[in-house]
């Protein structure tokens, strides 16, 4: 189970009464190497957690689902995850709350294989093609379905959906197993800069997102359980402090400087490329950690619409308008973080 029991403060902290007791926080991060969860790594690299006297252990999962399971089962106290999992968890009767926002836009791109440059000019042109996301029911699948629906294309009727995995996505495209794919960075930047494909829609930008949804899309953030908030409000506040500061750091510093603070296990081997993705990321990464009500509603809208048009997309957890969007997050901690 979780191990958040605050341990007695170290001897040295007696003098400065300001120092809170040491606590251990376990975190399951939805995936490694994704900008969508960068604040966890950055806060750690900048020693923000240490400043709060927190021992934060980051555990990287292969998929958001695994991270969500770890949170719900009490194996970890926090996750870095997308809000879709919170919606499903709420319907299943396992309430969670997002307390810090990491990404206010989807942060994904719809990438088309290079050899289709001439035939695919808009989403409509994907009719009859095979289009991929990371997996069935994933955030990329939901958004993709919505995008396609808006263009009047329905899954299984007008196009084929292909779950491509994340690590296998480039290979799937190159093997012509799919014609276009929705995914986040570093895939988008990597694949496009390798000259293998081009961007059809870029939901890393406010422009394309607004065009689609009329506003923000509250994607990823730090999520914890209602129970943990109740028993450890103080620890939650300290975690939020560090993460919001990290959000702000990203927003206010040049990408190059941010990258310089990060270890290679976060930036990958090719730092230049990382800087490039980070620059693109500035547009969708949250600058203040506050969760946007409208953005959450947009996510819900996408979910509900998708379920209507494609019932196989939500076999047992039917997302309806009944979902309480305001119960999915809690901005009170982020609001308390001093400027």
């Amino acid at each position: 189970g979780g191990s958040s029991a605050p341990s007695p403060a170290p001897a040295g902290s007696q003098a400065g009464a300001t120092k809170p007791p040491r606590a251990t926080v376990k975190v399951s991060v939805g995936s490694a190497a994704s900008l969508l969860y960068l604040p966890w790594d950055l806060a750690k690299a900048l020693n923000y957690f240490e400043d709060e006297n927190l021992d934060v252990q980051l555990n990287y999962a292969n998929a958001g689902t695994d991270a969500a399971t770890a949170l719900l089962s009490g194996s970890v106290d926090f996750t870095g995850n997308s809000i879709d999992h919170s919606i499903k968890a709420q319907i299943a009767g396992k309430p969670t709350k997002m307390v810090v926002s990491f990404a206010k836009l989807p942060g994904t791109g719809l990438v088309v294989r290079g050899d289709l440059k001439d035939s695919v000019k808009s989403v409509k042109d994907l009719k009859g093609k095979t289009v991929g996301g990371t997996s069935v029911g994933s955030g990329t699948h939901l958004l993709l379905t919505y995008v396609m629906n808006q263009a009047g294309l329905v899954q299984d009727k007008d196009y084929t959906f292909k779950p491509c995995g994340s690590g296998t996505m480039a290979a799937t495209l190159d093997a012509k197993g799919a014609d276009a794919c929705m995914n986040s960075d570093p895939f988008v930047t990597q694949y496009v800069s390798a000259g293998k494909g081009f961007l059809l829609k870029d939901f890393r930008t406010a422009k394309d997102t607004t065009e689609l949804l009329g506003g923000a899309y509250q994607f990823t953030g730090a999520v914890t359980t209602q129970a943990f908030i109740q028993s450890n409000p103080d620890v939650v506040q300290r975690v939020v402090n560090a993460l919001v500061k990290a959000d702000r750091y990203i927003a206010t510093n040049p990408a190059k400087d941010v990258a310089a603070k990060l270890p290679q296990s976060v930036t990958g081997n090719d730092v230049e490329l990382y800087v490039k993705t980070l620059e693109a990321g500035k547009e969708y990464l949250s600058a203040d950690g506050l969760i946007d009500q409208k953005g959450v509603e947009n996510v819900l809208k996408v979910n509900v619409e998708d379920c209507k048009n494609n019932p196989t997309l939500c076999p047992n957890l039917k997302v309806t308008d009944q979902v309480d969007a305001t119960a999915l997050y809690d901005n009170s901690f982020a609001q308390k973080v001093k400027k």
Partner: protein, 273 residues
């Protein structure tokens, strides 16, 4: 035989009676299911994660019901079975042939031994992109993944078993005029049969697991796909429904293997005490 007699039927011990063994096996499985259900109801196993037989058994029935909205279950079964059986058969044949060749040709075996040990340790999951590139996104790459699992299990077992065959038997048939392939099929393979079948029983299970994992990574159909979808929606009932189906299919394949083994083991002495 002129000296054959029919004495009154001896008491055959219970453990040798077929119906008793079958009943026992069923009992063990039913007990397991019952325990699962009981622990689920008692709240020890949270059904949110572990589901419960009384939940997933109806779900399976639903899948098979005509006009089910959950997609064509027969298609999924066919896809998964095809991948499994192909992976199993190809992996087994390769494992047998290479294991056999290496056991017979000492130098060849020694030369490639370290390379094979190294390959065996490579996590197949990590190689998924390479499989897709080399074999495409469809059937072939999924079969290939299964093959890499099955191959090594069969290979090492065959290699050791063939190498250890009683040399007197080989010498004898060679003098009797056995050509190389006679030695293979008359002596080495029968002698290694038990060990090979044991490896096949393991690898049949791994072939299923390989197929499902491959589908899990990326595919449009198959039981693995069905399970992955269910998992994405925290639908543990769907997950266990799929797992139970796979387990039943595996049981089928395993029974075939055991049947084959039983048929070819008539020559073995039965232990009396």
């Amino acid at each position: 035989m002129s000296d054959t007699v029919t004495l009154g039927v001896e008491r055959i011990p219970l453990a040798r009676r077929d119906w008793f063994v079958r009943a026992l096996q069923l009992g063990v499985i039913l007990f397991f299911i019952g325990a699962w259900e009981g622990l689920g109801r008692a709240g020890v196993l949270d059904p949110f994660y572990y589901s419960r037989p009384s939940l997933f058994l109806p779900r399976i029935a639903e899948w098979f019901a005509p006009g089910s909205t959950a997609g064509d279950i027969w298609l999924d079964i066919r896809v998964t079975l095809t991948e499994t059986v192909l992976g199993f058969v190809i992996g087994t044949l390769l494992g047998l042939i290479v294991g056999y060749a290496f056991a017979r040709n000492r130098l060849l075996g020694l030369a490639f031994d370290p390379l094979l040990s190294m390959f065996n340790a490579i996590p197949r999951l990590v190689l998924a992109p390479v499989f897709i590139l080399a074999f495409g996104i469809d059937l072939a790459s999924k079969v290939a993944l299964g093959v890499t699992l099955v191959f090594f299990i069969v290979f090492f077992a065959t290699f050791a078993a063939v190498r250890d065959v009683d040399q007197t038997l080989v010498d004898n048939v060679r003098i009797l005029g056995a050509r190389r392939r006679d030695v293979t099929f008359e002596v080495l393979l029968p002698a290694a049969f038990s060990a090979i079948v044991a490896s096949l029983r393991t690898s049949a299970g791994f072939a299923f697991a390989g197929a499902v994992v491959a589908e899990y990574i990326g595919s449009n159909a198959g039981l693995g796909r069905r399970i992955a979808t269910a998992e994405a929606f925290f639908d543990s009932t769907g997950v266990f429904g799929g797992i139970v189906l796979i387990a039943l299919l595996a049981l089928l394949l395993d029974s075939l293997l055991q049947l084959a083994e039983g048929r070819s083991s008539r020559w073995k002495p039965r232990r009396e005490r």
